[in-house]
Structure formats: C-alpha cells, structure tokens
Subunit: 323 residues, 2 copies
C-alpha cells in the first residue's frame, strides 16, 4: 500500500461536489423514486421470560390534550414534565401494546387493543399480530385486565364479529360485577354510560361462555392475577414466572410512564378511584423497583417493556435494550 | 341486558380450570406447534426530520466484558452503573445502528456496520436494509464517520465484494491521512496493526474514486460534517437540517450511552485520545441538551434516536417514543 497525501489532495473537493448537487432538479426528483415508501416494519417484539416466549404487539396510538389529562396537578407542572419528556406540544400520545404469552403449550393474549373502535391511528393489533406469525383462530385464551374500551374492543368488531373465535375469554370477576350491574349504570354520570353500554356490546353475545377470575388465580400457565384496584373497580395486574425469571404485566397501573411513573401521586383522568389507584400504583412500582422485576407496560412506548428504578420521590422506566 | 351475579357464579371456577391444564401433556406439546418461530420483525425504523426521511437500520450487536471496558474508572463503579442500567452481568452489549437519509433526491448511508467481519450476532444490516425496501445498488453516497471496523467493514465483504457498487464513498480527510500513513502504522502498537491493515483492505480497491471531506463540508444534501476528534484522529459527527428541524448524528462520541452519556468523563477502551474524546463528548452533549436537538446514536439501543437531558453532573438519553 502506498497511497499517500498527494493522492488525497488529488481527490475531488467535496465542497464543490456537494454544491453541484441540485436537490430541486428534475433528475434529482426522478432519482428519488428509487426510494421505498415511508413504511415501518411490523411492530412486534419478542423476548423470553424463562421458558415462556413473550411477543409485544403494537396497536398504534391515540393523541389527546394535555389539559385536564392530570386531575390533581396544575397544567404548568404537567407541561414542564411533558417538555422534559419531549411530548408533542400540549398533547400526550397514548400508545397501546398487547402481550402474547406462549407458555405451557398455550397461546394466551392479555388484553386486545382498540379493534375498529379507537382512533384512526390505533387498531393496528391484528395486522401486527399476523405479521408476527400468529393466527387469531389458534389463540387458546384471552385474558382481560379490565373493561375500558382500549382493552376489550379488540374482542369484537363493530359489525359484531368475534376476533378470537376459539379462545376462552377470561375476565376479572369484580370488574364484571361492577360494569354489568344495571343499578351502577343507572347511577353513573351521563359521560360514563357509553362505557357501560360498550361492555354489554362486547360481552353480551358470549356471556354464557365467559370464565371469571379473581386475584390470586392462575389465569394462564404460570400467569397469576393480582388485584390492583382503583383505575377501575376490578383492575388486575399479572405476574408471569418461568425458570426463575419473572415479568409483571402492570395493565393500567399508570397511563404514560413519562408522567405517572415519574409522578406516581398524579392521577390520570381515567382513574375511577384516584386515591385507591394512587396506592396501587405506589405499591406496585415500589415492589418492581425493589425486586428489579421486568415489567410490561400497556401504555409505555413500544416495545413497552423495561425495569423500574427509584428516582427521587418517584420512579423511572428504563426500557429494555432491543436485541 | 340482564346478566347478573347469578350468571357470574354459574361460570366455571377459573382456579379449577387453570389447574386442569397440564403443560407437559402430549396434547399441550402438539398445540404448541401452532405457535410461530421465535423471530423478530425486521429491525428498521423510519422517522422524519423536516422533509428528510431517516431510516435507522440495525446491524445487530456484539458482547464484551465489562472489565477493562472503561479505562479510567474502578470496575466496581462501572458495575454499579451497569447494574442500574440492567446490563447482562459483567458484560456490555454494544449495538450498531446505521442511518439512511433520503434528502434532496439522494439516498445517503452514514456508516456501514460490520459486514461479514463482526461478531456472529452482528452483520444484520443488509437483510434489514433490504427489508426496509432499499436496494444497495441504488445508494448514491456512503459517508464514513471514522475508520473503525464496525463502521467500514460493511463496505466490502471478506471475499472482496463491494456492497454499494454505484455509491460515491465519502471519507474524512484527517482520518484518511492518519490511517493511510505507513509511518503511523509502523509506530503503532502491535495490537493496532490489524486496524491499519483493515483500512487498507477496505479502501485500497477504491482509493482512486474516494471523495474526501473535512469539518464544515456538506457531505450529502443538508448534511454538514462537524469534527469531533479524539475517539479517532479524524472522527466526525453530522448535523442534518431540514425545514427548521435538525438531527445530530453523533457517531462514536460515546459508546453505550448507559455508561458514557451518564458519565461523560469516563473513557471507553476504544477512544484513541481519551482526553480529546472527553472534551468532544462534553461539548457535543452540552450542545444537544441546550438546543434540545434530536440525536441519532450509533451505539444506543435500537432505534437509537432520542434527546439528551442534563442529569446531575452527566446527561441522560431519552429515547424517542415509537410511532
């Protein structure tokens, strides 16, 4: 090898070369057509917990105003955290990530996403689920954490079509008792009647086949339900344990972790009993930080899994390193 | 609707139901075959910076020992941070993410990954690049930040085959001057001779066609090179600006951000001039935090983009929210 300084100098001047490119010329435009469309890879992500395989499936997102999103903090304080977290201005982007568990020879889906009832930017579950190689007809069980629409609407399209025709549908007994109580529905404020009706829309056709669970039950192989009431009256979390590894599925113990993991005493507008939800949130986050247990977050940025660290008076979600 | 408490109680007891499942039965094993293989989605991720489209392409990872990884900190201190960051025990997983820029009608690739010269867990670039819809024959330019193997080996397979046959290859002039200097190679410690030889292996067949750039040059449409020497003698970063948005490609200003963004005074074993690298790192991280500029990190967990926040005496990388 004897390339040397002279050969460097003989190279074209890059500044000249760069300036010679005209990005608005017809030639440049024609060349641009060799570029692919703006399309993402299918949004699923697999990881192992002991012998179990987890697949995080992304259902997309919805965007809502930051104003009134946190019930018990001044908007200026919320804006300050949102800015530190690089949220879109005055908005919060709520993502939805469901979890498929392959364990004990069974395919279990925990929560179902928005189906065709959510924001136009949501409802991506089924496409991503199929891209990950799954067949909805082969799902053995669907476990529901609670009855908010973004968790149950994926069970049934607006047309009435069931999305997991051969799966056992497994729901929290206290959640069922609350939402199906016609007296509770009659007493509810007008703004909540839609949620009661939606529960009936989704579950009425399969009511006789539903299975019910309570805190402490094994809802799927190696998956134990744990009550974390407050967000809704029967809201459940889950711990998967396999070969000395564990994963906690925290459901809606928090909404966006950028706000409510950092500020666990803040209450999202969707928490039905804010004080009970706050206590559940603090208890679960404390446990996760102490045990260093991996966590799957329904409303964390995809792939929505990581670990919880103590950080001042709150916590921090450390996402897993992609591999 | 008149489902009520009696119907709940009529539902099968879930505890019994769950216990009836035998995860080791032949039936369970047969059912498991309806599950898909453990396969990830192709690892690419698109985002916009003004009118430019960025595609982050994942090349995989390599794992190395934590011991001796940081030159100027006691192993116990490094272990403590690594544990907080949930690294594998006593290991660091170094990921490689290249960036494709579609801007001004040109397809530009910045750095090329390991090709077939890296760890068995690396070398995924070309598969992911094609999955993202790109054709290597249609790449207009390849811009190289510096001459370490994990940035240049993707240009040419071990067999000698060029991977981007129609691209202009654009390299930093001071980097070329250092690595191609036979005197510098003769003076180098034995352990570094391989790196000098590798630079010759990759570039010798195309030396006469190379383009050279220096700090301040526009190396691709809207992409300006900025010197950040220290990691190597001619190490470069880049700022892409389009429609009042900006992205900084920081190349190897840090290795794993979990260590060196948090502790910017720590020196990774690969920094050739540790003190100069430290100054470059502090300067760039300070600027990024002050300007709130989005950043693409070669060695951050995929998709390897986010923002830098001040955190105590160091910084923190806040990953972007997937969408």
């Amino acid at each position: 090898m004897s390339l040397n300084r002279r050969q460097i100098i003989a190279g074209a001047s890059l500044t000249t070369w760069a300036l010679a490119q005209n990005s608005t010329s017809p030639i440049a435009s024609a060349q641009a057509q060799s570029a692919p469309a703006f399309q993402q890879a299918p949004s699923f992500y697999r990881y192992k917990i002991g012998d179990a395989t987890i697949t995080a499936i992304h259902d997309g997102y919805g965007e809502t105003n930051l104003e009134n999103f946190v019930r018990n903090a001044p908007l200026e304080d919320v804006r300050k955290i949102a800015e530190q977290e690089f949220f879109p201005k005055d908005k919060v982007r709520i993502t939805f990530t469901q979890v498929v568990i392959e364990s004990g020879g069974k395919i279990t889906l925990v929560d179902t996403g928005n189906g065709d009832s959510g924001a136009p930017t949501a409802g991506r579950f089924m496409a991503n689920f199929k891209a990950a190689g799954f067949d909805p007809a082969k799902v053995d069980r669907v476990v529901i954490s609670h009855f908010h629409g973004d968790h149950i609407n994926g069970l049934r399209l607006k047309s009435g079509t069931a999305q997991f025709p051969n799966a056992e549908i497994v729901v929290p007994e206290p959640e069922w008792a609350f939402w199906m109580d016609d007296g509770k529905m009659a007493q509810a404020p007008e703004g909540m009647k839609g949620a009661f009706n939606n529960v009936r829309r989704v579950f009425a056709p399969i009511a006789k086949d539903l299975k019910f669970y309570k805190s402490g039950d094994e809802v799927a192989p190696n998956l134990i339900a744990q009550a974390a009431f407050g967000h809704t009256p029967g809201h459940m979390t889950f711990v998967l344990s396999s070969a000395s590894q564990s994963l906690m599925l925290v459901s809606d113990i928090t909404n966006h972790p950028g706000l409510f993991v950092r500020k666990p005493d803040w209450a999202v507008m969707f928490d039905m009993d804010a004080e009970m939800a706050r206590q559940s949130r603090r208890r679960v986050l404390d446990m996760l930080a102490t045990e260093r247990m991996q966590v799957a977050f329904y409303h964390a940025p995809f792939p929505a899994t990581g670990h919880i660290l103590k950080d001042g008076d709150g916590f921090r979600l450390q996402p897993v390193q992609w591999s």
